[in-house]
Structures are given as C-alpha cells and as structure tokens.
C-alpha cells in the first residue's frame, strides 16, 4: 500500500501526536522492562535501578522444588493443550469454512463462547463439574479446561488462514484423484501451516498464562505456575517472581517471534 506520508501535514506539525503515542507506548512496555531489570538485582529491597547485580533470584527460582514442579506442570499442560486444541480447532475451522452447514452462526458462537463468557464463570463452572467427576487437581482436567479456552484462538487463526487460501486448489486436487483427506493433507495443510503453527503457539501461551480457571481446578501436585505465582503475590512481593516473570516475558517474545519468522519463511 502506498498510503505512506500522503497527507500534506508535516511530521513537525504532528510532533505532539508522536510524543503522546510514544508516552503510551512507554506506559505499555515500561513495566516489563522494569521487571526484567529488577530480576537481576542483588538486594531484597525494591530499588530501581538496582544498586548491585546478581542472579540470586534466578537461583532461588530454579533451586526451589515447588517452583520447579509448578513450572513443569504448566509446561506439560500447555504442550498437551496445544496438541489437543490444534487439531480440534483446525478441523472445526475447516468445517466452518466449508460453510454448507446450516446453523454456522450458532456453531461459531458456541466455539468462540469462551472468549465472551467471563472467565470467573468458567472457573467456578468447571470446578463444580470436575468436583462431580473427579477431575479437579488432575492434569487431564487442566488440559480439557485450557483446550476449551484455547480453541477459539485456534479456530479464528486457522479460519483466517483458510479465508485467504484458494479452495480451488483443494478442489483441483480432488478432481485429480485425491480424496478429501489426502487432498487436505497434501495440498491444503502445507499451505495453512503458518496459521496452524500460530494457532498452536497461541494455544500454548493461552494455557501457560491462564490464571483464573487454574486457580479453581489446580492444586496439590498439579499446581500450575500461575496459581503458585498468584498465591505468592497475595502474600508478599517476593523478588523471585521477578525472575519467573522475566522467564515468562522471554517465553512470550520467543513464541511471538517464532510465529512471525514462520510466517515470513514460507
């Protein structure tokens, strides 16, 4: 698009806008930057910039069995969620895109319901349900609950990929002798891989960062990292959390850049 700098307004006249926008961007990014810097502080006091530097909070994070266990639980659940939600969401997106079903609107609404329904309600609802069927404090229960929350993101991501994909290709593949499934796997999926991988990454990060539902349905040996962090924050502000937060920020950056790079390299 060649809409760049096309209005007869100079950048100088716009300086106030850039200043304001820059301040809002600072507001958005500063907390993360501060936390990353604080995590390398050598003191228990909250000083910024820190007076001395150390890795003691990282040692405290990785040295603690409780934090380590919680991290492992979260990773397990997030990986499983991505593995379950991605094929389910992709299949659903494919069916919605085919669009020959009646009630497509209702199906869409149902699949994306977890984006609109307040999370707290999903939290007490799943807790209530799991209490009856014994899924509270289990990995399975967490994976199912997180899958439901990640599903809309996978569906929307894959659906947007499908919308920009030329379905004639799948039709031509089928006319050339490939059944529906071979045509999908040989022709459509390789071209949707960016959307599918993005969907999987979004599912992973949605699960990994999920707090509210985990608060209700995880505990004991299956306490997730976010639940442990939440409880720790309720009590006191432990700088170990700065180290954990830094790791989470790095994880977000890595996953987002992975999605970006994968998109460009196709």
């Amino acid at each position: 698009m060649s809409t760049e700098s096309s209005l007869p307004i100079s950048h100088w006249q716009r300086l106030w806008l850039y200043l304001l926008g820059g301040l809002v961007m600072l507001f958005l990014i500063a907390p993360s930057v501060i936390i990353v810097i604080m995590s390398f502080s050598g003191s228990t006091l909250l000083q910024f910039p820190p007076q001395q530097w150390s890795l003691r909070w990282y040692e405290s994070y990785f040295g603690s069995v409780e934090w380590r266990d919680a991290t492992i639980v979260s990773i397990k659940v997030a990986v499983m969620t991505a593995i379950v939600a991605t094929p389910l969401g992709t299949a659903a997106a494919y069916a919605i895109n085919a669009g020959t079903l009646r009630l497509t609107g209702a199906i869409n609404a149902l699949l994306t319901a977890s984006l609109i329904i307040p999370v707290i309600l999903i939290g007490i609802g799943t807790f209530f349900l799991y209490a009856r069927i014994g899924l509270n404090n289990t990995l399975t229960g967490l994976v199912i609950a997180h899958t439901v929350q990640a599903l809309p993101l996978v569906v929307l991501t894959v659906l947007s990929g499908l919308r920009s994909y030329d379905m004639n290709q799948e039709m031509v593949a089928r006319s050339l002798g490939a059944g529906r499934f071979p045509a999908f796997f040989q022709v459509t999926m390789p071209q949707l891989r960016f959307s599918i991988v993005s969907g999987a990454l979004f599912a992973f990060i949605t699960s990994f960062d999920e707090v509210v539902v985990s608060l209700f349905i995880s505990g004991g040996e299956t306490t997730t990292l976010t639940r442990r962090m939440f409880n720790a924050l309720r009590d006191q502000i432990d700088p170990t959390i700065a180290a954990i937060s830094t790791c989470l920020i790095v994880l977000s950056i890595v996953l987002l850049s992975a999605a970006q790079l994968f998109g460009r390299g196709r």
């Binding site: 936390i35 494919y94 609109i116 307040p118 999370v119 707290i120 609802g125 799943t126 937060s245």
Partner: protein
C-alpha cells in the same frame, strides 16, 4: 425455446426427480461428515462451558435450605455490600474504559498514520504486553506503585513528597493496572478499522480547504467510530468480569463482581449465591454485546479475531 424438454425415464417418472433421493442422501452424508469434524470441539465446549453454566443457573434458583426461591437474586437488592460491589465494578469499568480511550485513541491514530515499517515496529509495543501474562504485568505494577515501590521512592528521593502516595492497594491502583491490560484490546481493533479509512477521503477534505483539525473532526473521527465502539464494548465487558488485577491490587478494599463470585464459592461455599452472581454477570455481558450488535450491526465477535 429450450432443448431440455420433459421426458420420462424407464420407470415412467419425470426426469425432474431423477436421483433426487440419492442426491439428498449424499448431501446428508456430507453434512454429517462436516459435523463429525466439528463435534469434538463442540462437545468439549458444551461439556465444559454450557453444561456447568446451565447447572449453576439451576443451582441459583434454590436457597440454602434447598427450597426453590429467588432469594439468591433478591439479596442483590437487599444487601448493601452487593450494591457496593456492583457500584465499584461499574465505576472501575467506566474509569478503565475511559482511560483506555484517552490513551488508546491517540496511539491507534499515530499507528495508522505511520509508514508501514514504523507502524509494525511500534505495534510490537502493543502486541508484546498483550501476550505477556496478566500476572506478570500486575506484579510489575505492584512493584512500581506500592507504598515503598519505585514511584514513591523516586518521588521521595527527589523531595517532591514527604509521605508515600497511596497508589497501590486501592481504586487508583486497580484502574492503572487494568488500563494497562485493557489498552491492547482497544488499540488493536481501533487500529485495524483506522487502517481501512481511505486516505483519499482525508486528502480530498484538506484540498477542499478544511484545516487538518477540521478534517480529523469531520471525516476521520466519524469514520473511526465503529472500530472505537467495538473496542470500547470489549474493554467494558472484560472489565466487568475481571478478576486477577483487582484481586491482587485492590488491597481488599476494591471488591469487584468476579471477586465476589470467588468469595461466595471458595470462601463461603455458597454456590447458590455465587451462581446467581455469575448468571447476572453473564446476562449483563451478553446484553451489552447484544445491544452493541443491534446498534451497530457490527460483528461483536468479529473484532476478537484481531487478537
């Protein structure tokens, strides 16, 4: 005049119904196939979201002695603490939505006016926090805003104030923390809709002699309103049911709707009360989204895909 004239097949039936049954069966088979692709996802959503919420709704209709009653709902009007909770929730939601518009609109406007490359770099500043854990961001604001936090210690060191300002564990803290979390939800759909505004429209306005300010006021701003409206609705609705930040930054003084639900169920095990709160919250959420969709005819769920 047409070549295709009605003739009869060997069984004596008109061609018009030839194979109609087989074709209908084939159509049904294909629909079932597509439904099979949808069913695992639909089943999970149904089992984990719809069934429990229905169940909670049912529970909310009984009082603690197991009698069918509206006591759980009547309480909202009778007990001052509930009324206070609702008032606080709406106050926070309005404040956060207002602050988000105030900060988000200029940012989205700037992003939409920047050249492509610069805009995509600046967009990182919106997307990265968006995908950073809410807990991490809330923790950061606690560190920054609390009594002996960064802002207070700087201001005291600079001699601006003698006593630390109460920034966290109160209404202001909750609003600041939540604004940080909600901003991307406003900026992303707003930016997406601003990108679709035709620059020629604006240039025409300016060529016709309108000042930049007038062009903005009379052309750009009205055109950006649908995006702004969807952002506002999303932010407002998310605020109503928000839990993490008020729970951690409210210092027990700012009790919002979602926290009330958590207290009722976890602390007092009063499922009827918690469920009734949840049902009303869901009803208000859906009503707002429905109202928005009705007023704007916009895809209230469509804007989510900008995530």
């Amino acid at each position: 005049m047409s070549i295709g004239s009605v003739s009869l097949d060997r069984a004596g039936r008109p061609d018009a119904v030839l194979n109609a049954d087989a074709l209908r069966a084939d159509a049904r088979r294909q629909a079932l196939g597509l439904l099979a692709l949808l069913s695992p996802g639909l089943f999970l959503v149904f089992a984990v979201i719809i069934v429990p919420i229905g169940w909670l709704f049912w529970l909310s209709l009984f009082d603690q002695t197991g009698q069918l009653s509206l006591a759980n709902y009547a309480r909202f009007f009778e007990q001052a603490s509930y009324i206070r909770t609702f008032a606080t929730t709406f106050k926070v939601a309005f404040a956060v939505t207002g602050a988000s518009v105030l900060f988000g609109y200029p940012l989205a406007y700037m992003l939409s006016q920047l050249p492509r490359r610069a805009a995509s770099i600046c967009l990182i500043f919106v997307i990265l926090p968006f995908w950073t854990s809410v807990l991490v961001r809330t923790y950061a604001w606690l560190v920054i805003l609390q009594r002996r936090g960064l802002v207070n210690s700087w201001l005291i060191d600079l001699g601006v104030i003698g006593q630390p300002l109460p920034l966290a564990n109160n209404f202001a803290g909750v609003v600041i923390g939540m604004t940080h979390i909600m901003l991307p939800f406003l900026v992303l759909p707003l930016y997406a809709s601003m990108k679709t505004i035709d620059v020629d429209c604006l240039r025409a306005g300016m060529n016709l002699g309108a000042s930049p300010a007038a062009t903005f006021r009379q052309i750009f701003f009205p055109l950006s309103q649908p995006g702004l409206a969807s952002g506002v609705v999303i932010v407002f609705v998310l605020c109503l049911g928000f839990f993490v930040t008020p729970a951690l930054m409210g210092g027990g003084k700012v009790i919002m709707w979602a926290m009330r639900i958590e207290q009722a169920t976890s602390l007092y095990s009063n499922w009827g009360a918690g469920a009734a709160l949840g049902v009303v919250l869901l009803a208000v959420t859906l009503a707002l989204l429905g109202l928005f969709q009705w007023l704007l005819g916009a895809r209230a769920t469509g804007v989510w895909s900008s995530r």
